[in-house]
Symmetry: D2
Subunit: 331 residues, 4 copies
Amino acid sequence: MDIPMEPLFGAGIWHFGQYVDRYATDGYGPPVSTLEAIDRAGQVGSLSVVDLTFPFAPAELPVSEVADALKRNDLRAIAITPEIYTRTFVKGAFTNPSESVRREALALISAAAEVGRELGVDYIKLWPGQDGWDYPFQADYAEIWKYSVEGVRELAVAFPDLKFAIEYKPREPRNRMVFSGVARTLLAIEEMGQPNVGILLDFGHSLYGGESPADAAQLAISRGRLFAIDVNDNFRGWDDDMVVGSVHLTETVEFFWTLRRLGWEGVWQLDQFPFREDQVQAARDGIEVMRAIYRAIDLIDEDALAAAQKAQDALAAQRIIRKALLSTLPD
Amino acid sequence: MDIPMEPLFGAGIWHFGQYVDRYATDGYGPPVSTLEAIDRAGQVGSLSVVDLTFPFAPAELPVSEVADALKRNDLRAIAITPEIYTRTFVKGAFTNPSESVRREALALISAAAEVGRELGVDYIKLWPGQDGWDYPFQADYAEIWKYSVEGVRELAVAFPDLKFAIEYKPREPRNRMVFSGVARTLLAIEEMGQPNVGILLDFGHSLYGGESPADAAQLAISRGRLFAIDVNDNFRGWDDDMVVGSVHLTETVEFFWTLRRLGWEGVWQLDQFPFREDQVQAARDGIEVMRAIYRAIDLIDEDALAAAQKAQDALAAQRIIRKALLSTLPD
Amino acid sequence: MDIPMEPLFGAGIWHFGQYVDRYATDGYGPPVSTLEAIDRAGQVGSLSVVDLTFPFAPAELPVSEVADALKRNDLRAIAITPEIYTRTFVKGAFTNPSESVRREALALISAAAEVGRELGVDYIKLWPGQDGWDYPFQADYAEIWKYSVEGVRELAVAFPDLKFAIEYKPREPRNRMVFSGVARTLLAIEEMGQPNVGILLDFGHSLYGGESPADAAQLAISRGRLFAIDVNDNFRGWDDDMVVGSVHLTETVEFFWTLRRLGWEGVWQLDQFPFREDQVQAARDGIEVMRAIYRAIDLIDEDALAAAQKAQDALAAQRIIRKALLSTLPD
Amino acid sequence: MDIPMEPLFGAGIWHFGQYVDRYATDGYGPPVSTLEAIDRAGQVGSLSVVDLTFPFAPAELPVSEVADALKRNDLRAIAITPEIYTRTFVKGAFTNPSESVRREALALISAAAEVGRELGVDYIKLWPGQDGWDYPFQADYAEIWKYSVEGVRELAVAFPDLKFAIEYKPREPRNRMVFSGVARTLLAIEEMGQPNVGILLDFGHSLYGGESPADAAQLAISRGRLFAIDVNDNFRGWDDDMVVGSVHLTETVEFFWTLRRLGWEGVWQLDQFPFREDQVQAARDGIEVMRAIYRAIDLIDEDALAAAQKAQDALAAQRIIRKALLSTLPD
């Protein structure tokens, strides 16, 4: 019997929520509850896991109802993402100048971790988008760094049975984020000295931060710290969260190829914001692209590519990839 | 009697409103009504005019109450900005694929124009931030262009006694905006062939769009189309809407110096988004910087600068500016 | 009868020359004469035309020898590009502060035009990469603009039988170029008021200048000013002049599809700088990619795409393109 | 007795050399020998040290003549920079695919180190601008990383009495550099495990790489690895190497203020490329700006700034800096 060999696909639950921005303050659509969003994720048809934001919407929603909704949609919670970037935390979560807000952030993350444990998630995602600074001279950078390292370390020590994945990003909403790139986040993680802290590498964040995402993945994997990935696409100047492969197809292939070559076997996960598109269709399209990439990787002439990379021969390497990917190459 | 010779200062009323973004979906502060925002503008102390978004908050607020609030705060409405970028218009206002939504946008702008007329504004501001495209292959660019030109022209013809100022911007919220830069907007305006359409030049939009804002101002003025300006600052990769002069002081001086040299006598207007700062203080600080710039301009050795520019001597020009601006230059 | 169903391919002759930059000041390879470069172009095998820089290397090389070299390589000169960006012109060609240098630039271009006429080129290419400014306050922008418009106009009037194609670019080597984008260049051209001035649209310049290249092409075509194109690729932050399609495949397809749909029938021309690669192979690879694109365009479901664009349906449009382009899509 | 209270000023000797780029291939001026460049540096009047590229021009120039030239100009060699980015090394120095070229790079650096020892330099500067990759799929990133770490470690071990300072940069001439940012370079240095390897932090590289230079300095200092700095300015999209403070005055002040506050006492060193300006004057201007900054730092209200930073109060912090810096603030 032939078993379909493909990775598990996942998505952040916000993919199916309401989007708001500073212009369309009334939202790109009506509010969406956690249960509704899970049902939409279920409609996609190929998703196996979702990453859930916490608190749920509404906040009083029992965990058991979330678990039921996941179950009826054949979904599992791969992660839980505490919302440490809403109004309480706009001046920072780990790095908030107020100690009481910093404690509040840790309390929220701890509560999320308890729920995550109950749901059996693989990791708690930390996305400290409000942790950083906006203006020159605003911050004492040593203090900001210390707050960040110590805050995450405290969580890692408190929940030794759980994994914490830091999602880095150059900026937004803060003008400058503390965890801005892969190397900086690894530096901080190694300073924490805990085994259960790692990285969630978002392809788009890496891309628009000036990294080569495949290289960033390699670096994180080489130090045993790549806990999860998200994919999407953008125009390289901002985190546009477009559908996978819509702009940077070759680099997306390189990213997934690198993961596979290095034996990284996690979920291929979507972090798209289809502001003006159908959410379910956008997820299906993202998965379609990932499937096409997965198949194309099988067609890559690995020996030839290894030789090309050994020689750092860009033209040869690109020809090999085109051959695997494109349908209309001349002979 | 010696009258203090300085420009009028103004601000967009949104400077004093509630900010929301896709992360802090509950807002950087509580909701703010139009009247409250006007009162905050009044607290600044040096503002003479404001640009009002329309519909008011709440929508049923009578114009007379707005007029009263302005009056008691010694403010005048310089402009009205119809909100053609909220949920109804997320797929475009002038360029929406649906004709009925396009008509709705024109209707909203027309209603705003009527109110503007009642309030005695100088211009109706058009900010078509949702007009454009997000993905390669999404749009028929010729059609998008035509919709934009024809839509604005129709308004200009319908309200010949009013002026319409298009605020261009490279992107956000749309990934690509139709009116993306000064030259492109001038091309469109000249194609419209109406005298009452011009440009609102936002310093920050120009900066992060790769323009030299002073040059952009010169170009618009040379064709008689600079109707208004907004100022703020950013890190050149996004429309950060920071306090004036906090990053690009010299280019801000150049911008205002150019306006003055060319005899442009409009309002010096703030478009800042102090997400995490005190709004009134941020406005005061922006005005303080503008005042310092205004005074520094008086200290510029104009003959020497003209000679330096004639010779395109960058070092000499910069020395002249430093001398006018800095307090601690060595002799 | 079998009509060759593909566009003509071309290349800038500098593709086959010596590259130098501010670090590898001894060059990425040894010096290359014009005749050697033409012979390399001939080796590519699929090139029909080349764009020649002038003066030739060496400067005293007779035009007849160039013509012979072209002939024996089955090549034709589509254009001539006067080098108005070398040492004499580092402070500008059209916009040089010295009138005598400005005249020298016009003289060089005129000499190039004479040679171009002799070689039967389609257009004289103007690439004013040193025309602009570097520092805030350095230039009188009105004067710089005037110099640019009047200089090109003078040429257009002097050579009414020839076409002049301005290649715009945001920057490099000058920090800011006068002819920085498509709209700005069109504004200037329309101000010139001559029929024989148009645009050479370089895909990479457009891309890293924040334009959508297909939209830029549409705009130039709509005004009858698209005289020529160059293609290559980059990482969107600089003019990397990489092999066509190596990063932005979909946007490259969109660009060529737009040209074809609008009936633009010029040469598909390479402007690549394979600094560390084999030049002939890089040209062959660029052409291979263009051929694959040409064939893929034939596979696009045009009716479906027209409907998707009418509805501005990004997901549908992208699906149609993927179907034409990729070999491994799931059913 | 009054001791001159200011830092030592320095410059890279290339500041006074010939500049070439891919357009002005005949150079922005005539060739300049090492001795001529040193004499130009001497003309500046306020320079105490220079960083010398190696091999000298001409290559056979005896070290003793260089030493004499330095002496007669009251200069000292602070560093030596082996040219591991010229034609031999365009495919990489440490990371060249050819082992023999990698050895050649180490040999050149070793020769430079010997000369540096003779001249009594403070550090050997490593600027591996050709080490990296250009295209997706070109390189095996793990191998490139290993080559980089092992190559530098080998040098550090071979010359335990000398210091090696890696100058990182996001890109140019290579599209992507291995040592691209401060965190990544620190990761690599810590992996090397040698005490005599550190960082040369170029303000402009940090700026256009998306870092906050003052934060980058803090991070390097906190790990004892900030060996040297270079300053200049740019438009944040490329390494324009403009005169210090011409665009980002406030961030330059923040950078120097941070160095001083953290007790870092190295040379304030110029890395400017005044392509079209007088080189000596450009250096004098850069120093004038640095002197103005040095004095302004003395005027900063440190207690107030510490309080503002403790509260992360951007507005207050900026007001304090404006007060120290600007001459025309309103009362």
